[in-house]
Symmetry: C2
């Protein structure tokens, strides 16, 4: 089809579609302007966006009806025109629910649209020993309670984000594989949707825990860097990459697989079947082996705790008390961590690396050796050696990020939120 | 300052600034709409952008005056309203110049704003043996001839992009280091600007050759993937990363340093001083050593060619003739290339990897072993194993990308182009 024919074909029929698309884009602009610079008057919103006053008034009316914006009580306004009330984000009637499936626990975290936390739950659950279906039924029961409870308080849950420890097909919510859970091709989004009887308007987004944790760290004031890498430190090692302020998921959602990059061709065999993976050097089991070997033998006898948070606390306790085995072991882990981190540092040149999981707990004992390796291996020299810091969100980073994803979905498509009844 | 005070302070004084910013954004939108969907009537541009007819007419008048848009001769139009001529990208009066400093040659490539090639130059020059200043004087002389020649034809060069083999401080155009040129902290942008006597309005953008080549490949129809990795294969190995359609430069412009990631801790010492870098395994000197060792000894005696293009052609000639040494050698290089590529595949999950330099020339002899390694090492399995292909742009990718950067600058800020005299 020639270009002129293509345009002729598009022009008459396509006009209403164009206008709806333009309105949708402008809803996002108005909501985003109030979010970033509010409270603002309608006149100021019009001036900042370049839209007419009439258009802004119509868009604001829709956003108020959807309970995404509200008027403040404040009357005075510096702009020309009739004095009007100013607009701010409402979102009290709208909740985003974040869930996490960890090998040792299930977690939930909900916030309203303005980011105010509503509920937090944590349930010890050994997903490595339960069937995937049992785990998801348990998760759905926890989620259902929170959704119902919110509804009774007049708050509609508009979406559910789910963090899982493995690569995910984002479009379908299918977990491709989660080696530490012994999962393969588990349709998490579909199962949750069926179990909870969710209507079409409620979205379910499943993503890798490291991606979601990276988003949460990025949203967190202390780490508001444009180029951020989040590295999980539990049984598995994974990375979430924020580049230029946006999550880098890769073509199929498989980015961030740092744990199985080979760092030692002469090393031991990994659970994944490959040789010398980073995970064999710095995963939590490796850390327990070199820094607290007595606990590993007790663990094998079935007597010691195997919750990763408990293990991290114990490693920290021993290091803080000057236990030589713990100190030497963590120094060795730190050395391999630096070798591992030098890979994304050379490839991605981040501003900051945030260490999650057990790394965060024992960061002071890992960082000296890690930074030494990083300085030796940063090709572009000292100016490419980024800040490396323990996560301030600790083990809640992933579940917070899962809720954040839903909040961002609403700001990107406010028309999805139903009109208040 | 409280939010209300901040808004009051911003409101009256800032209004003209806001309006100029809005106009600038709208100029970009109108120009971008015509570029992606043109030729278009003013009415269609208004409908697609949501701007009023009057605003579009005023913006179009400015873009025509700046010779960025022009009216077609075509009269018919499918839209309602008075029949009008349609708009298309002009840009004939505007040139972007791309330059490349390679260790063995200097190159230039210029295009107009619509992407039509104007000139190409290539000059054999051994930048490894000349002072940095001599190299840049030679480059400036070549650039000056092209700029002057264009001006005599009525074409204004609005910017110069420069590709260099090393990390660059983008903001200042300072080349931090280019080990293969023995450069450290060379202010390429400043030197070129002084030597050419460029006015402030003409920008000089210096960037890593792999970044610029990645942009050129991304713009090239065959490789229009959202997540693309370009890997250079010459004396040095580097990578340019396009993620979500945008170049990923990293926090300081130091991304893509694939060549000095360690792949063999028991390997040989690299020119950079580290051990077992990927470059020691798959750089062109390594390929010559394992696939054509007789040429290396002749080279040492000063009798054989050392132009990378010539070496690549010779490797291809031997492999195509079934030379066993060449075939075994390239297979071994392919194996290490696959090991190296598995790092960005696991970390970034690209759609496609484009191999440049000598890799492109001998790709059929590298790919079987490389793909085997890649399949073994892709953590997320076969669906994460991306397409790997030789560059169709060959040794011109970097210099084309250097010109593309300038073209994109104009589309992002059309007000920079002067009004036609």
């Amino acid at each position: 089809m020639s270009q002129s024919a293509a345009e002729a074909a598009r022009s008459p029929g396509a006009a209403p579609v164009d206008q709806m698309a333009v309105r949708r884009v402008n809803l996002v602009r108005v909501l985003g302007e109030v979010r970033s610079a509010g409270p603002l008057s309608r006149a100021t919103v019009a001036r900042h966006t370049g839209l007419t006053r009439a258009t802004v008034s119509s868009l604001v009316a829709e956003l108020i009806e959807r309970r995404l914006l509200r008027e403040t009580d404040y009357q005075q306004d510096g702009t020309v025109g009739r004095p009007g009330r100013r607009l701010e984000i409402d979102g009290r009637g709208v909740a985003a629910l974040g869930l996490e499936i960890n090998s040792r626990y299930l977690a939930a975290w909900s916030t309203d649209l303005a980011g105010r936390p509503l509920h937090e739950r944590r349930l010890v659950h050994d997903a490595t020993r339960e069937d995937a279906e049992v785990t998801i039924r348990t998760l759905a029961a926890m989620a259902g309670e929170l959704v119902d409870g919110a509804l009774r308080a007049g708050v509609h849950t508009v979406g559910i984000g789910v963090a899982v420890p493995g690569p995910v097909d984002i479009a379908t919510g299918l977990v491709r594989s989660a080696p530490n859970l012994h999962w393969k091709d588990v349709p998490v989004a579909g199962l949750l949707r069926d179990l909870l009887g969710l209507p079409d308007g409620v979205s379910v987004v499943v993503d890798n825990e490291a991606n979601l944790a990276a988003l949460a760290e990025r949203g967190h004031a202390q780490s508001a860097a444009a180029d951020l890498l989040y590295v999980t430190g539990e049984a598995g090692i994974g990375a979430g990459i924020v580049a230029d302020g946006r999550l880098l998921r890769g073509a199929g959602g498989f980015s961030g697989e740092l744990g199985h990059i080979q760092v030692d061709p002469a090393g031991e065999t990994c659970a994944c079947g490959r040789t010398g993976c980073l995970e064999t050097k710095v995963g939590l089991p490796a850390a327990m082996r070199v820094a607290a070997p007595d606990l590993v033998s007790r663990q094998a006898a079935g007597t010691a705790f195997d919750d990763p948070q408990e293990q991290a606390r114990e490693l920290l306790r021993r290091a803080a008390q000057g236990d030589p085995r713990a100190l030497t072991g963590l120094d060795e882990i730190g050395r391999w961590l630096g070798i591992g981190l030098s890979i994304p540092v050379n490839l991605l040149n981040p501003d900051v690396i945030v260490l999650g999981g057990y790394f965060a707990a024992v960061a002071p004992y890992l960082l000296p050796a890690a930074m030494r390796e990083l300085r030796d291996r940063a090709v572009a020299g000292d100016s490419a050696v980024c800040r490396v810091t323990g996560s301030a969100l600790g083990f809640t980073a992933a579940v917070r990020g899962a809720a954040d994803v839903i909040v961002e979905e609403i700001f990107a498509d406010p028309g999805r939120v139903g009109v208040a009844s």
